[in-house]
């Protein structure tokens, strides 16, 4: 026991935590400042006046009061993106290949988790569950989703990517797009054959929908309550746990060392006695498990899932991975958080700032615009300076 405790690399446990806190706080502060400056400027214009007439409150106050809620929402979705982005980034780091099907791995995880819970619900187990058992069932669903997604990711790599490993760059990418499409309809096929429905709803149980009230604020004549739903807390806490665990696996264990070696150079790693194929499978397994867990968390947060649920989160997580510097794990964390925050801030404030001309519906475009801007001005990403660009 003592030796085991001694073998734990404490700094590697603390470092990612510190990074997460730093990134979250930093992004929140920077974005809030930008939004507030905008609000101050627009307050004098017709935008501010319109809002004042409608809600009897200045734009600046309105912005300020909404900030904490927006930041928490942004953080929640940011952590989900980060967890998916890690799957992209790990595979990219090892194979230099965009695993386009990762978004469907995520969707499969979400479906398996939700189906487990729906099955439990049908037997009446969920309804009478105590609070502790509710959390046990949730963890069961997450683990189920992780295992299914991880297994599927390994299978997909074995069938559709491994035969193409020495082909030119675009060949495995096209195959991955094919896998992505195939899986979308496979999910739909299975769902329509077994349940006859396209949408699945996350069952309500436990106390996940309750909100922890942090305080009340007056907004003109109305009161706004500030709160965090327990869902969001669960999402953030589980994502942080996974990210820390992954960081530990890669940076402080022997297997992790092998992964890093393979990422640097396949032939040399192979000469050092590392089974490259096994490490690549392992990478897909770990990435897929993270994606699957993120899928269940996503379903918990947004309740309704369908076969195409993976597409946008997957694309945004990829954007996040590129934003942070693809192939770089810390970068994926940063990218996920920044992107989730940016998107939520834009979605919440763009409508007010443009007087309803462009609102939440442009949220998705926003992510792509960021992707394009990053690729033009800093193709190596925010933290990707140390990643060599092989042609």
């Amino acid at each position: 026991m003592k030796r085991f405790l001694k073998s734990i690399n404490i700094p590697e446990l603390i470092r990612p935590l510190g990074q997460l806190v730093f990134f979250s706080l930093g992004t929140t502060i920077v974005l809030s400042a930008i939004v507030l400056v905008f609000a101050l400027i627009l307050d004098r214009t017709v935008v501010g006046q319109t809002l004042f007439e409608r809600l009897n409150v200045s734009l600046f106050t309105y912005t300020l009061i909404n900030l904490p809620q927006v930041a928490i929402d942004g953080l929640t979705i940011g952590f989900v993106y980060a967890a998916i982005a890690l799957g992209y980034t790990m595979v990219y780091g090892v194979l230099e290949f965009i695993n386009f099907a990762h978004s469907e791995i995520f969707a499969v995880g979400a479906f398996v988790g939700v189906e487990i819970l729906i099955a439990l619900d049908r037997f009446g187990i969920l309804a009478g569950a105590s609070l502790v058992m509710a959390y046990v069932y949730l963890i069961l669903a997450i683990v189920g989703g992780m295992l299914a997604a991880g297994g599927l990711a390994v299978a997909v790599e074995r069938v559709a990517y491994r035969p193409l490993r020495h082909a030119s760059r675009l060949v495995p990418l096209i195959s991955a797009i094919g896998v992505s499409f195939l899986l979308q309809d496979a999910i739909r096929l299975v769902e329509s054959l077994t349940t006859g429905q396209f949408n699945r709803i996350f069952p309500t149980f436990g106390n996940f929908d309750r909100r922890v009230i942090l305080g009340k604020m007056a907004l003109g004549t109305t009161n706004i309550t500030l709160g965090v739903s327990i869902k969001s807390i669960i999402v953030i806490v589980s994502a942080v746990l996974m990210l820390v665990a992954l960081n530990y696996l890669v940076n402080a264990t022997k297997v992790g060392k092998a992964i890093r070696a393979v990422a640097q150079d396949h032939p040399t790693a192979s000469l050092m006695g590392i089974d490259v194929n096994r490490i690549i499978s392992l990478t897909f397994l770990v990435g897929g498990m993270l994606g699957g867990a993120a899928g269940v968390l996503y379903a918990l947060k947004f309740t309704r899932i369908d076969a195409f649920v993976g597409f946008f989160p997957g694309l945004k997580a990829f954007t996040a991975a590129v934003l942070g510097g693809i192939g770089n794990m810390t970068g994926a964390l940063l990218g996920g958080i920044v992107l989730g925050m940016l998107e939520t801030y834009a979605g919440s404030y763009m409508g007010v700032f443009t007087m309803g001309a462009a609102g939440t519906e442009y949220k998705d475009i926003f992510a792509f615009s960021i992707l394009i801007l990053v690729l033009i001005f800093r193709p190596q990403g925010l933290m990707g300076a140390n990643v060599a660009q092989k042609a």
Binding site: F97, I98, A160, P163, L164, A167, R169, L170, V171, P172, L173, I174, S175, I177, G178, V179, S180, F181, L182, L183, Q184, D185, A186, R188, L189, S192, L193, T195, G196, Q197, F198, F311, L315, F318, T319, V322, G356, A357, A358, E361, Y362, D364, I365, F368, S369, L371, I372, L375, I376, P379, Q389, A391
Partner: protein, 449 residues
């Protein structure tokens, strides 16, 4: 012994007068079958595949051209007017063949994976949808609130002009998108084009406020059809009326006209593509596709050549967009989803990227699978559902099968399977391009040494 025997027969059939006879026999058989049983899908397939026979057997050029012209200009319109569903299938094949040929320039020649190709298609379609409808006068109204008696902005004649304007506009869009992103490596480029495709779709969905440009998710309708000289209907009736068996209405004639327009575009594209392929630009594209670094070292202006590929590919999609808007008289963002882009990509990959006959074959195959095989399966399943048939061993009554199971909606499965299987087993496609063939032959020589 037996394979040898077959080989003998095939070599003999490929010589002398036999190819001519086989091609004509196939064509006549197909026509006769379709003519006698206008509802049969199988007969239609026999007719369509006569194109393949025409391509496969080596005969002199003139014979091929004449037979091809008879097939496309005479047999298809007549057969199509007799059963309008066939004409729809042929029209869709032509539209997708044109799109696939355009994408082929980007993916097959220059080796740039464009996952948002339908964005340019959308640009063309919305161009004519805006100028060829009442939409200009609807600008200040929210969707659904406009008065009903608005005039059309432009007359139907303008359609033909807009086919050329669309070339320009789509090419400019391609250059505008390409300029910033073409410096990127291939896989990043793929994702950015995907993003761009989504941006165009989201814009089309949401540009109904503050000014109503696109009418949002409801889409724009009615869109003007191009003016058609009345003489065309009379002429067609006078020429083919006896064969068709009834007089053709102007509405049917429109379908024929759009098919012929699409065919015209395809011919232009094939011509341009072939000329480009043998030109300095085409060789530059091949160089870029094979090895960017080496191409730069050889003095190929990388970004300019990539932009050219993007612009040429985009302009063809733009023209087809105008054609689509005119023929459907209705345009909505749904027609330009990511799935459409992948559908066109799978046609290119299936047929053989870089190969003109291959890409046309790919477009025809995927469209027929989509329109006839999947929909046929759907029909069959719904008939099974209504019957009281039971699967014997597992004792499953077809009537209990979920209503949601509709094979016609499983295009993604089809596209996905095509992409994966082709990449693993035959990445060069069904009909590899000549250059590819030559390269493969060289490889074998090298191995032989």
């Amino acid at each position: 012994m037996i394979p040898h025997f077959f080989k003998d027969i095939i070599t003999r059939l490929e010589q002398g007068i036999y190819p001519h006879i086989i091609i004509l026999a196939h064509m006549v058989l197909g026509t006769a079958l379709v003519y006698t049983s206008p509802r049969s899908n199988l007969a239609f397939l026999v007719l369509i595949t006569s194109f393949f026979t025409l391509y496969y057997f080596k005969t002199d050029r003139r014979f091929k051209l004449i037979v091809g012209a008879v097939l496309t200009l005479f047999i298809f319109p007549v057969v199509g007017v007799r059963n309008i569903f066939y004409l729809e299938v042929i029209f869709q094949i032509s539209v997708f063949a044109a799109l696939a040929l355009g994408l082929n320039i980007v993916v097959g020649f220059a080796g740039l994976l464009d996952l948002g190709y339908v964005a340019f298609y959308a640009v063309g379609a919305y161009l004519w949808a805006f100028f060829g409808s009442q939409q200009f006068y609807v600008l200040p109204f929210a969707p659904g609130t406009q008065p009903s008696n608005l005039p059309f902005l432009l007359p139907g004649d303008a359609f033909y002009l807009f086919m050329f304007i669309a070339i320009l506009i789509a090419a400019i869009t391609g250059i505008l998108l390409g300029t910033p992103v073409l410096r990127l490596r291939g896989d990043y480029l793929a994702i950015v084009t995907l993003g761009f495709g989504e941006v165009i779709r989201v814009l089309a969905n949401n540009l109904d406020k503050p000014l109503n440009f696109t009418n949002g998710p409801q889409g724009i309708t009615p869109i003007q059809r191009p003016t058609m000289p009345l003489a065309a209907v009379d002429g067609f009736n006078a020429l083919f009326g006896g064969l068709v068996g009834h007089d053709v209405s102007p509405a049917d004639m429109y379908n024929v006209m759009f098919y012929l327009l699409a065919l015209g575009v395809i011919i232009v594209i094939v011509f341009v593509t072939r000329r480009l392929d043998d030109s300095k630009i085409g060789r530059a594209w091949t160089a870029i596709r094979e090895d960017e670094t080496a191409a730069i070292a050889m003095g190929v202006p990388l970004v300019r050549m990539k932009l050219a590929a993007f612009a040429v590919g985009a302009s063809f999609a733009g023209v087809m967009g105008v054609l689509l808007a005119g023929s459907r008289t209705f345009i909505s963002p749904e027609s330009f989803s990511f799935m459409q882009s992948i559908g066109v990509l799978s046609m290119v990959i299936l047929g053989g990227s870089g190969s003109i006959p291959g890409v046309i074959l790919g477009a025809a195959t995927v469209t027929i699978l989509n329109l006839q095989v999947l929909q046929g399966l759907s029909l069959y399943l719904s008939q099974l559902r209504q019957s009281d048939a039971v699967i014997p061993i597992i004792n499953f009554a077809w009537a209990n099968l979920s209503n949601q199971l509709d094979p016609a909606k499983y295009q993604r499965l089809l596209f996905g399977l095509i992409l994966i299987l082709m990449m693993i087993f035959r990445p060069e496609g069904l009909i590899p391009s000549q250059r590819r063939k030559r390269e493969l032959a060289h490889d074998e020589d090298d191995n032989g040494k």
